[in-house]
């Protein structure tokens, strides 16, 4: 099973939910941190990293001698990553999405593939949990290929918990698509609700069952709960706005370990999540 933990708004508690859920389950679990621009699950789980490999993408390299300046490559590129300028063809690697279109359309076979490194994927273990995360290299912007690489580690016979990035753009789609269920972590504030609405639309478009985890209950207002009720979104867990939780978090520790009553609450969350994955919204 694949459980993706997403949010819309950043800082609502995705990593808290993902890591504590992974820690609490007795099932075989692996945690995949897909927030490759700022991975932080490792700070709470402290896994031993055993393997590391680079994630590359192919970009075009033009043999100017063979090029007839026909501009077919430039016309097919939606990202402006290859352009005929005067008598030369230039490539802009940071804009390239590695779709391969330019290789296909070049009538002179003047374009060859060249690799460039986008980031790394690291994997290891901690207390029986398999751990995988991706890291985008500084200066790079192409995130989804690294997320897809992290997700190649997903295993059918395990509970795969994905810590997704915030927002609703390409990296989130790459982290949520084809999951069995999505947990949307939100907070009861106007900002939390605003981004929750966007996140709900996103997962609905992807047709993935989804439920809410409301964090920091006690602040803000009741608009998130009213929204959930109106749209028949199940609220699977509520985490209170509590000084103890904040203290544990600030030390990089797990609430399910330090505050034992939470371990049972995360087990209950898993049960409800599993049920939701089976029967849908």
């Amino acid at each position: 099973m694949i459980i993706s933990v997403a949010s819309g708004k950043g800082g609502t508690g995705k990593t808290t939910v993902a890591t504590n859920l992974a820690y609490s389950l007795k099932e075989k679990v692996q945690l995949l941190d897909c927030d490759v621009e700022a991975p932080n699950s490792h700070l709470f789980l402290n896994p031993e990293i055993e393997k590391k490999h680079l994630v590359n993408a192919s970009v075009p390299k033009v043999d100017q001698a063979k090029c007839s300046l026909c501009k077919k490559c430039m016309d097919i590129c939606r990202y402006g990553a290859i352009a005929v300028l005067g008598k030369t063809v230039m490539t802009f690697e940071n804009l390239c999405h590695s779709c391969g279109g330019c290789f296909q359309v070049c009538p002179e076979n003047a374009i060859v593939e060249k690799n460039r490194t986008l980031g790394t994927v690291e994997s290891g273990h901690v207390n029986g949990i398999s751990f995988i995360h991706g890291r985008l290299n500084i200066g790079q912007v192409m995130v989804p290929p690294i997320i897809r690489e992290v997700r190649t580690f997903e295993k059918k016979n395990m509970v795969n918990i994905i810590d997704a990035p915030p927002g609703t753009s390409c990296p989130v789609i790459a982290s949520v698509n084809h999951a069995d269920v999505v947990l949307l972590v939100t907070e009861p504030t106007p900002f939390g609700l605003h981004d929750l609405k966007l996140a709900v639309k996103t997962v609905q478009a992807l047709n993935v069952p989804h439920g809410l985890v409301i964090n920091r209950v006690g602040i803000g207002d009741s608009a998130v709960e009213a929204f959930a009720k109106e749209h028949h979104l199940p609220v699977l867990m509520k985490i209170p706005f509590d000084k103890q939780i904040a203290l544990v978090y600030s030390k990089g520790l797990l609430i399910a370990k330090e505050l034992p009553e939470y371990k049972e609450k995360f087990i209950q969350l898993y049960k409800k999540t599993k049920e939701l994955a089976t029967k849908g919204n």
Binding site: Y79, G80, A81, A83, V84, L85, G86, K87, M90
Partner: protein, 120 residues
Amino acid sequence: MKIAVSSTGKDLDAAMDPRFGRASYILIIDSVTLEYEVIDNSKNKEAFKGAGIQTAALICEKGARALLTGFCGPNAFKGLDAAGVKVANDVHGTIKDAVSQFNKGNLVYADKANAEAHWV
């Protein structure tokens, strides 16, 4: 010599558009006769990405040897530089003023971009 100027309008009295890649119009002007061609740049103005590069390719295709604009980013500059098109940044006023500054030799040509790339 043909020069390209980023413009907010379709004639020589129009104000320059400080943006290059997403300028509303590009005027390709003969610096001697002041005859000009108006290029509607709306396709690049609305481009998802790579507006500067596409607009650079466009002015190269039109045979411009110099560009007068406000801000030219690194991707567009790299392309224009490779194609041998000189770039004068921070040029203000009407198109007519800009061409007159060019003809008097008052413009300084850039050796690097003067704006950050968007998206990257």
